[in-house]
Symmetry: C2
Subunit: 200 residues, 2 copies
Amino acid sequence: MSSHPTSFGVSLPAWVDDEVRSAGTVLPEVEERMRLAHRLAARNHREGCGGPFAAVVADADTGRIHAAGVNLVLASGLSAMHAEVVALSVAQARLGSWDLSSVGTVELVVNWRPCVMCYGAVMWSGVQLLTIAGEGDEVERLTGFDEGPMRDDWQDQFARRGITVRTDILREQALAVFADYGSRDDVTVYNARRGAGSAA
Amino acid sequence: MSSHPTSFGVSLPAWVDDEVRSAGTVLPEVEERMRLAHRLAARNHREGCGGPFAAVVADADTGRIHAAGVNLVLASGLSAMHAEVVALSVAQARLGSWDLSSVGTVELVVNWRPCVMCYGAVMWSGVQLLTIAGEGDEVERLTGFDEGPMRDDWQDQFARRGITVRTDILREQALAVFADYGSRDDVTVYNARRGAGSAA
């Protein structure tokens, strides 16, 4: 194994920081933060980095942007590099802690309900507020991605761990991004779906 | 944001490769592969890298070890760096694909049932066989870690996506590692548990 890499890493594309800077690094209104997520998601798949998903980590009180992330599965070659994992990891690297609650009340803004992996990633991150554009199977129908099996009580399970969910922020704009992605005939939907009774 | 890091990365501690090399890079018997996972998990918390968890990625047909990973939450400062995410990411970096099914039938060996985040990480990785030492709340009782809310039909949901689960491989040895961890009075249990009705 000595000749093999014993590490992995992920770099945000430069255009992500460009988008954050042009949006402004303090975005007091939740709609501004969600608009940034939509813009990043819409650009991400056109840049070829991964699926149409983006996440923004912000100070929940001031709207200061700690970090942004996009889905980098294709760019990184790593299946775990969904937007939420990327954004939370960059924020934790910047802030110097695996527990974002140590720097204040931190919000994660995502352009749809997280998949089952990212649901857990949010749970362990120290985030205390999750803001999403919406939830529902529209994302799977429009994009072809499998979001995985979520529990019906997923919001209650968050609440028991001190995490509040806020939904339906610029929902229609999220669907427009997914529809744009779904209209392409040249994309890679990278989730595994090999089972005979493949997921809905 | 220009002065802030726009990347993150994780390196395996050198002792992980040492352990793999001394175990042997081809381990045809499942018990050998699980024994390696237990050895890595037992050493990991003593080394101060993170919790007592380890994962091994192997060729399911030959037992050739593609990669090993340990929980690196404390070492990396990143809450998503559970053993499964680390092992799968190192394997994907080595093998050059976000889809491990592209290189054959790949097994992930873990020293207990994955948490909800890692459940999703396995689902999206291209792994087709998950081998675990066991499942049940012993891990939470002995170590204090929260594993998150899993669905009762988690195995069926894997099966629908072409992933087979094999359990109860060297189960008692897993519990011994967790009990050893739990006996320490100097450890950091890093999962968030801030809710009033904190999780079991």
